[in-house]
Assembly symmetry: C2
Homo-oligomer: 569 residues x 2
């Protein structure tokens, strides 16, 4: 920060670098850099795909930022979803910068720090109508947006090289549940003054038309409550406060009591009620253990598990494994979400289980119990026409959606070369009113497994892959190196390969075959452990493949047993 | 068969037992039994779900059939899809019964036997207009149906206890590509004469209305060909001969040459052309290596990979890894399929990769390039109204679709108790015009891994699961049992747990800690290997969990090293 005044404006360029949030779902993080100063916008996590065996979460790689020794002025959070704030607990101490977010966003972030304690997190509230000047080079203005969580904002960053606008997740909901419509006038004013680049939410760029209003979901829910004589159990995302509000409103209208089931949703209901984002009339909420005292037509349960997550309340309820709630025949279960890609089978399993318990399940996309929080093609057009950016940076969603966003921009007359389809680490440089792709810095994913952040990489994952496919066969040989003698073994032990009790012939045969392999090794070669191991590996590998068609990991272990080595001495 | 005449009609009941095809996708197999005689309808495989690590395919369990020593009169195949014929190569020798199928079905089955040779398979062609009398108790009639593969039939089995109808996969396509409309008159006649039970395809029972005709796909494809000036690459299922025919017809109309890419689709095009199910005018097909000689607007490639299958042609093309075909910018790629549940991410990856290569990709459900081969709600109603069965057995699809089929039947006035929602092994008994659930026999899934059929079970899969999550830590101790001495170790080796090169402190620390654990063991306890192992396991497990939050498989191995044991002697 002390060097700031030494910089000459001419040599500095504005650099925009996605550290995540492009080319794959989630894990949003954008670095905006001018000279040695920079800000970060969002710091999200994503959940691992099925190939990242054993990995808990994936966070963006901030090594570039740390290695460059930049002056990080602040971390700006646009809303409280995991894919925008979830990585912070893993990097806040290292980044050591103030955090800015709206009230609800910070409220949800604080709850995360209870689960993942950090020594210090300096948090400051964003007031969407006030400018936040982090330095003369970084003046931030905010605009309220509509999304599937309250208190969402977009950011306009005024820099010496022009204004960068980051829409973050948005839709244009003309009838938002909380009445807070998008601040169109701010967007229009930004467009009038000039925007060098807009970072645009492309999640639904491949969907034609407009995304429906969240209010439509309220009407569907209301209609279900009106017609149903049974208990209603509704699963939604814990952070979808607007939807929870609509369920509560419908419950009040139809004289039902509401019970909130599941740790994360209880948490989010508590925080958002306390902060005034959720309005629950007195006497509406009931405890789970009071449900059985009420007639079925007076009960609503709001819960999690709309993605079929194995540990969630609805999943456990559907498997008759929930401690407090069980399905009664005739219960109506509403799954108010579409499956996130990759979760389809989990959701289907939950639905099948609920049908087995004779519940009515409302889960089809046509049922009107879910709308997306992201704008479709026409909303993206509207956003671009309001902002009128020189350059467009499609982000969020997958590459196919970003490519669709590029096509939308082109339909509006923006030249293809002014749309930057990027990957994490790609540098976009803006200077003198012109933008260009300017190389790549190190960026990518960091895998978190247990307490380990980044210690699980390609090699470990590849080993897990092999182990998961065909298991492991361990072959042990004890050798006395002094006298070049095999003292014991080969012993064979396997896991995840064959059912040992029914494969004794196979394993005995392997032992005999390996004994021959070992015998063929000359005594003077017993010094060369690598050679022995490789001979054992080849021999065992082809023995097992010929007989089983499988390729377990073969692990020869040679143990050195000198005569005088007794650790119990 | 010799005992047939000794049976008294009164003691025999007709039993219908699903061995697969209920409660989960695929793996269709139905056993119909009367006294000691029985037939099997279909013998399908399914692909493993993500939890069945390393498993190649899943087939039905036929142990009940074999243990009961039944007289299997025949195996009836309704059409040539994997989920109806794919398990046969793994069980045909054991079942040792004649196989019946239509011409194309047997043609496709023969090709499977080339890949999975069997000693003998007696195959007989079904002529849909001829009765097949397997015994006085089993008279089979067939009716042509519409499905996404030609030569599909349903089966009506006349038995002493009434007629069972198995619709197998069907839709009512009023404008089928090959002009072979469903034989409605046969269905109506069956209904008139009386059907005791109908086994009904429920795959799309949760979709309202009617399924569109395959011809609609032809029109969409034709329109794309008409408008496109680029090469067109279309991916579909290899066995969807009607669709391939329509692509060829459109190609001829728009003066394009057709190149077939991918082993399975070349195979299926060969078989169906040879048998007359596919009509390709001379000069339309070209070899892959001739494509580059043609202008782009004259090229169509038909290929596989519509499900994003890792080894398929389109997947390799999308990853620029195909030996002969690569994407040119502007190529139009049509993915003429919906993702099967579980494949969504694979398909999305292929689409993203194709966009990266600057192809136009047509993959959205709204694009009209795919229709289902299964009938929707109104078609199921029509089927039930034609057959007018006493009892309904919803099969295919998942439980939720079978439950939807039950509701459809109830809408038509069939009582809920006359709809049997079953699981594999459930016995339905029909006698004197009445049906009832009559217990359960052993049935279920058999896992095939490599050459092993059924040798991989719960324990092996559970071990693979543990190994895939956090890897394995092997701890070796060499003991001289005679003198109760530890001769070497503990040595620690890990795979899939941590990156060893960066975890030397962790592993060294573990070694020191385990040395202490071993030292605490009294010499006289060194005889009790189980106790030593359990102490090592507990100690290592908590050491690693405290430091990494992970729970690798801990595998203590004790090796016995007597002085005189030298296999090299």
């Amino acid at each position: 920060m002390t060097k700031k005044n030494k910089k000459s404006k001419k040599t500095n360029k504005l650099e925009l670098i996605p550290l995540g949030g492009v080319g794959e779902i989630g894990k949003n993080m954008f670095l905006l850099k001018y000279g040695k100063e920079c800000i970060i916008m969002d710091a999200g996590l994503k959940f691992p795909d099925e190939a990242m065996l054993g990995v808990d979460i994936v966070i963006p790689d901030t090594s570039y930022l740390l290695e460059q020794n930049l002056n990080l002025l602040g971390i700006i959070l646009t809303h409280g979803h995991e894919d925008h704030i979830g990585a912070l607990p893993y990097m806040v101490e290292e980044l050591n910068a103030p955090i800015y977010g709206t009230r609800l966003t910070l409220g949800l972030l604080e709850a995360k720090f209870i689960d993942n304690p950090v020594n210090e997190a300096r948090m400051y509230e964003i007031h969407p109508d006030k400018t936040l000047e982090l330095s003369p080079n970084f003046k931030l203005d905010f605009f309220r947006t509509n999304h599937s969580i309250p208190d969402s904002v977009g950011v306009a960053v005024e820099t010496p090289e022009g204004t960068i606008v980051y829409t973050s997740d948005f839709k244009f909901d003309q009838t938002p549940v909380d009445g807070e419509i998008t601040e169109y006038y701010k967007l229009a004013e930004l467009g009038r003054k000039g925007v060098i680049a807009a970072i645009v939410d492309s999640t639904n760029a491949d969907r034609p038309g407009y995304t429906l209003s969240e209010k439509e979901v309220g009407e569907s829910i209301n209609e279900i409550f009106r017609l149903s004589q049974s208990r209603v159990i509704l699963a939604t995302f814990a952070s979808n406060i607007h939807r929870i509000q609509q369920v509560i409103d419908a419950a009040v209208r139809h004289n039902r009591k509401v019970c909130v089931v599941g740790r994360s949703i209880v948490n989010s209901v508590d925080i958002s009620s306390e902060l005034g984002y959720l309005k629950i009339p007195k006497g509406v909420l009931v405890d789970t253990d009071k449900i059985s005292d009420l007639p079925p037509e007076m009960v609503v349960m709001i819960t999690t598990g709309s993605q079929g997550e194995p540990m969630s309340a609805l999943t456990r309820i559907s498997q008759s494994e929930h401690r407090q709630v069980s399905i009664n025949p005739g219960d109506t279960v509403i799954i108010a979400a579409n499956p996130i890609p990759g979760n389809e089978k989990l959701v289907a399993r939950t639905v099948n289980n609920l049908y087995q318990l004779k519940a009515e399940v409302i889960y089809q996309p046509v049922s009107g119990v879910h709308v997306s929080g992201h704008g479709s093609e026409e909303e993206i057009k509207m956003m671009l026409n309001l902002l009128r950016p020189e350059y467009v940076v499609p982000v969020h969603g997958e590459f196919r959606q970003q490519a669709s966003c590029s096509k939308i921009a082109q339909k509006l007359g923006i030249a293809e070369e002014k749309v930057f389809l990027t990957k994490p680490g790609n540098v976009m440089e803006f200077s003198g009113g012109r933008g260009r792709m300017a190389g790549t810095v190190s960026a990518g994913r960091v895998l978190v497994d247990g307490f380990g952040v980044g210690d699980v990489g390609e090699i470990v994952i590849r080993d897990r892959q092999t182990l998961s496919e065909d298991g492991i066969v361990i072959i042990i040989l004890a050798i006395d190196p002094d006298r070049n003698r095999v003292l014991a073994g080969p012993e064979i032990i396997s896991r995840g390969f064959v059912y040992v009790r029914e494969a004794s012939d196979l394993l005995e045969g392997a032992k005999e075959s390996l004994k021959k392999t070992v015998k063929k090794i000359n005594n003077d070669q017993l010094q060369d452990w690598n050679k022995i191991k490789s001979k054992i590996r080849d021999s065992a590998s082809s023995y097992f493949y010929d007989r089983t068609g499988r390729r377990p990991m073969i692990m020869p272990i040679i143990i050195d047993v000198p005569n005088d080595n007794d650790i119990n001495k």
